[in-house]
Amino acid sequence: MTPEEQDQVRARQKSRAVVTGLLLGFLVILFFAITLAKIGASHNI
């Protein structure tokens, strides 16, 4: 693998890591919101 190809792979790995991180952050917020919605719903009954 040439240095150029290696740089390209590194750049892709980095962008994948960033996107995965953002998705995980989104899921944390979503699960928190789902939990609040579920607790709120049971509270009303």
């Binding site: 792979v9 892709r12 962008s15 994948r16 979503l30 789902i34 609040l36 719903a41």
Partner: protein, 302 residues
């Protein structure tokens, strides 16, 4: 020229290739019909849970699309329209697509069950399995009626959206299922008429390839007639009001006129198939219109 890396060493795919694997454009119609089913359902659902339900329908559709491309990578490589997809172009290895698709399937179904109810999750699981196993693996390579039965997979979203709210399956989502089910053949075959050469090269038994164009045009007309009955069923069963009734009547009448024109024509040159392209484009607008009308009916006339 692009198939060389299909079985070679793993490649580091770009995250955009994973996104492309989920066919985001097909997803819009699935999300729209799922949302319509959810909004047309009686009862209340917390907005966060409604959002999660729609997200799960979208993720499930994306998972099914990824598994479809995992299975069909060799076939996709032979068609101009699909040769640039991540797998046939060699930008991703097949294992990654399989793991991504299976993982996303489980995630979407489990999240749906946790956030809404397990009936909605079960229908979502059935729709994914139906698309991948019944359509992609079983019917598509074997019969020219493949997309008729396979269309059922695309008809599930309104049922899932409804079930997410109510926890059951009512008559209206079943009617919407039938509408989408019988809409698929004229929608897809009008496309198959003008991209026929592509399917022929890949050896997929699409109706125009197997039975000829005249038979395809006749079948488009036939399924349009059945679709018209399905479109009017909610009106006849008094499940909807005036807005849907008017939209369905006018929309279906225009559909029938366009389909009849396609039925009468004998054009074989794809470059001169303007009415066929028009029917294909209108069919998408038609489904958007009718599903929008169902929701408008429920929200404005309730």
């Amino acid at each position: 020229m692009t198939t060389a890396t299909l079985t070679s060493a793993p490649v580091t795919a770009h995250w955009r290739d994973f996104l492309a694997l989920t066919k985001p454009r097909v997803m819009t119609l699935v999300v729209y019909t799922g949302l319509a089913g959810l909004l047309a359902a009686p009862g209340r659902i917390h907005p966060v849970l409604a959002f999660t339900a729609i997200l799960c329908i979208a993720l499930g559709a994306g998972a099914a699309a990824a598994l479809n491309q995992w299975y069909e990578a060799d076939v996709d490589a032979k068609m101009k329209r699909t040769a640039s997809r991540p797998l046939p172009a060699g930008r991703m290895d097949r294992q990654s697509a399989l793991h991504f698709g299976v993982g996303l399937s489980f995630f979407s179904v489990i999240l749906m069950g946790m956030a809404t109810n397990w009936l909605a999750a079960a229908v979502l699981a059935v729709s994914i399995l139906f698309y991948v196993i019944v359509y992609t693996i079983w019917l598509k390579p074997r019969t020219a009626q493949n997309i008729v039965i396979g269309g059922a997979a695309g008809a599930f979203p309104p049922v899932i959206g409804w079930a997410a709210v109510t926890g059951d399956i009512g008559a209206l989502p079943v009617a919407l299922f039938m509408l989408t089910f019988f809409w698929t053949p004229p929608h897809f075959w009008s496309l198959a008429l003008f991209v026929r050469t592509d399917y022929a090269a890949a050896g997929i038994p699409m109706l125009p390839v197997v039975s000829g164009e005249v038979a395809t045009r006749r079948q488009i007309w036939l399924y349009t007639a059945i679709m018209a009955i399905a479109a009017m069923a909610p009106v006849l069963l008094r499940l909807t009001g005036l807005i849907y009734g008017t939209a369905a009547f006018v929309g279906t009448a225009i559909f029938a006129v366009l389909a009849f024109e396609v039925y009468r024509r004998r054009e074989t040159d794809p470059a001169r198939m303007t009415p066929e392209r028009r029917l294909f484009k209108y069919s998408i607008l038609y489904l958007f219109l009718l599903f929008g009308a169902v929701v408008a009916d429920r929200w404005l006339l309730a």
